[in-house]
Amino acid sequence: MALLTPVPYDTKIDFIRQRFISMGVSLFISIASIVGLFTIGLNYGVDFKGGYLLEVRSEKPFDLSLLRGKLDALGFGEVKLQEAGSPNDVMIRIEKKEDENSTQNVTIQKVKEALGEDVQYRRIETVGPKVSEALKRNGILAVVCALLAMLVYIWFRYEWQFGISGIIALIHDCITVIGFYVFTGFEFNESAVVAILMTAGYSINDTVVIYDRIRENMRKFKKTSLIDLINRSVNDTLSRTVLTSSTTLIALFSLYFFGGKVIEDLALPMIVGIGTGTYSSIFVSSVLLLYFKPPRGEDFTPEVEVVAPAR
């Protein structure tokens, strides 16, 4: 009936068998990301480092090297220029020097003088060091709390083995997204916290759907080996996993291509995050269960019967 069936119902991929490949890939990416985080580091944006951000527009296209010359001559901290959408739009980022105290009026004033009259200021942001410290702290807190809350939720709904496997997969996803920021030099701003949290939320959502099926199948097929059971459950839900990832990615790609500069910067890391989240729920979180061996049979908590919607 349907015009498209991306994943036929009788798909039988042996996910467990290739686990050494996927585990290897995941380990490699995770370790590389962590090493990169400490060696290359993140390219912190204005939110987390403090400094100035100006988006300017002019009738004529900007000559970036000329502009850079003008701004460097002012003797501020590091100046970064980036075209924003068209040659007539430029983003200027000025780092705040360590010893500089709140002289923001002066800095912005000087920039305005240097750029002259016929420039339009579309956006001006100034973030002081105290604010950036607080934003950074809050970002880390938010991610840590989210991971803990999700761990507790899964633990509560399933068994601790599910909780641990799920959370390891989640950490893997968060690290991968951070790795994306490290290796691409993408600016790490408050929107990065959004990307990481949404990745965690999406990934755990995906994982839970598979875990639900594993638990259901555990009860249905008491004699089946854990390997077959996990394989069967992942295959059972594969169609849903792929379809939901597709619709979410469709939405994100619409945002990336049509949402403008600010949204674009928010959407791209999320695309990476949803990709990893989908991958990890298929290849990491379910495979990990094999090693933690959740209890089966009689001592398993009976499923809470969900009442069917009233009719």
Binding site: M1, L3, L4, P6, Y9, Y121, R122, R123, E125, T126, V127, G128, V131, G139, A142, C145, A146, A149, M150, Y153, R157, E190, V193, V194, L197, M198, G201, Y202, I204, N205, D206, V208, V209, D212, R213, S239, R240, L243, T244, T247, T248, L249, I250, A251, L252, S254, L255, F257, F258, G259, G260, V262, I263, L266, A267, E303, V306, A308, P309, R311
Partner: protein
């Protein structure tokens, strides 16, 4: 499979009211003017409508230091009145230190000081040296009051400045967030907020010029700058009268047509001012704003309630000065620690881009669902459209702020909201393969997918809620739309599609499902 009639009416009712409350957003501002009060469009964030946002830090330390200085003043007055000799009364670090000359008066001194300040710890050693400092409770108390007063002062100053719809609120322990829609150059507001504006009337030393020439400052006096860098005065530390006794101040002109500020004292202030001007005829009176002498006229005759400040002002300066005088002093200095300004045309561009991205996201997802699930896909699409309508209606009713990341959240919700339908439909397909008849497969699909849908939505909600708790301004907008969107999807993707499915099954009685 059934769907109670009252429930169907309820579902349709919710959808109808959703349409109604979302509708003002389709109208132009002129058309909206005719609508009743309760039909409001979305409240847009500063990044969408253009405006400025300042995050101010209340300098609590400086404020407390100022209060210690006041403590010194009142201690000095009290000790003098009781004729208790003292030396070295001054602020040192977080405390006021002093030494009582006559050791036999230590007990009296303690009694007097304790009466004067109730919330400070007072220690006096046997040799007469002593210190006073605020207790921890007092510091907490005073800090809290300082913050509340600061917010009130900021509000007054901004109201006086004439900005409408400014939003002023406390953020964290010592910060104040000021949002100014429509303001694209906050320089003047920043200037207005950057001054403590503590106004005092004090006497200038008769030999001010001589001391300045010698570079000396006699005890009890201090050197303060005037309006220009070259100007300076030796001014008494003793405050005769403060800005708190002012009742009005307005910009105007003096007799020579130069811009000036006219001010008026309350009864107490007027009586005291009359007293001061009578006693000190011929001396220079310094009108000090923070640490700057803004005017130092010679007292020619007794003045009571009405006064005038002249100086080398322009009209803008007299306007700002009178605003500051009217609004009163800040209990502590304010520092701007974050400032974000978005021009109105960038905001308009952002709205356009956000609308376009959301619209395309709906179209692409809808086509995709149609291709995958044919007729059932159409049901999911109806659910998605109502999800957005209800989300917009909810945000319009509650006037929750829509930001640019919030629009991204809406588009993302569209992609994630169909997950519930995907879960249900995959179940239905499975049940069909297991040999269920059309109706019972649909029934089983909805029932059995429920637990999974709830589990997976709860985890996504955890992420959004934490983002709301820890996020600031714009990012919160994202958390708001995604979490509300997900909650609404529980209604649209499950209940609404179920209703459609039930009525459709009843009408067509199909043998096979178009899924």
């Amino acid at each position: 499979m059934q769907f109670a009639k009252w429930k169907a009416i309820l579902v349709l009712g919710i959808c109808f009211f959703g349409l109604l409350f979302a509708s003002p957003n389709l109208l132009s501002p002129e058309q909206r003017a005719h609508l009743p009060e309760w039909l409001r469009p979305l409240s847009l964030g500063l990044d969408l409508q253009g405006g400025s946002q300042l995050l101010l830090e209340v300098d609590v330390k400086a404020g407390l230091k100022d209060q210690l200085n006041t403590l010194v003043d009142s201690a000095r007055t009290a000790l003098r009145q009781e004729k208790i000799g003292y030396t070295d009364l001054t602020v040192k670090g977080d405390a006021v230190i002093f030494a009582i000359r006559d050791q036999s008066q230590i007990a009296d001194a303690r009694k007097i000081l304790e009466k004067e300040v109730s919330d400070a710890k007072i220690e006096i050693n046997a040799d007469g040296t002593g210190r006073m400092e605020f207790t921890d409770a007092a510091i907490n108390d005073r800090t809290r009051t300082m913050l509340q007063q600061s917010i009130e002062m900021v509000r007054r100053r901004i109201d006086e400045y004439g900005t409408t719809e400014a939003n002023i609120q406390q953020q964290g322990d010592a910060n104040i967030l000021v949002q100014l829609p429509g303001v694209s150059d906050p320089a003047r507001v920043r200037e207005l907020l950057g001054r403590t504006a503590k106004m005092t009337f004090r006497l200038v030393h008769p030999d001010s010029q001589q001391f300045l020439a010698q570079g000396k400052v006699p005890p009890g006096f201090e050197k303060l700058a005037g309006n220009s860098k070259a100007e300076a005065y030796i001014v008494s530390k003793q405050v005769l009268l403060g800005g708190e006794n002012l009742v009005n101040a307005s910009p105007g002109f003096d007799d020579f047509g130069n811009p000036a500020v006219h001010f008026k004292f309350d009864t107490f202030g007027g009586r005291k001012f009359g007293d001061i001007t009578l006693k000190n005829k011929g001396r220079q009176l310094a009108i000090v704003l923070d640490t700057q002498v803004i005017s130092a006229p010679v007292i020619n005759s007794q003045i009571t309630t009405n006064g005038i400040i002249t100086g080398k002002f322009d009209v803008k300066e007299t306007t700002d000065l009178s605003i500051l005088m009217r609004a009163g002093a800040l209990p502590a200095p304010l520092h701007v620690i974050e400032e974000r300004t978005v021009g109105p045309d960038l905001g308009a561009d952002s709205i356009e881009a956000g609308k376009r991205a959301t619209f395309l996201s709906v179209v692409f997802v809808a086509v995709f669902m149609l291709l995958i699930y044919s007729f059932f896909g159409v049901m999911a699409d109806i659910a998605v459209i109502f999800n957005i309508i209800l989300l917009i209606a909810f945000m319009s009713i509650t006037q929750a702020t829509l930001t640019l990341p919030g629009i991204a959240g809406i588009a993302l919700t569209i992609g994630m909201a169909v997950d519930a339908n995907v879960l249900i439909y995959e179940r239905i397909k499975e049940e069909l393969r297991n040999g269920h008849k059309a109706a019972s497969a649909v029934e089983a699909g909805y029932t059995r997918a429920m637990a999974t849908i709830i589990d997976s939505n709860v985890t996504t909600l955890i992420g959004s809620v934490l983002l709301y708790i820890f996020g600031t301004g714009l990012i919160r907008g994202f958390a708001v739309t995604t979490s509300i969107g997900i909650l609404i999807s529980m209604f649209t993707a499950i209940t609404l599609t179920r209703m459609i499915a039930v009525y459709w099954l009843r009408w067509r009685r199909p043998k096979e499902l178009p899924i």
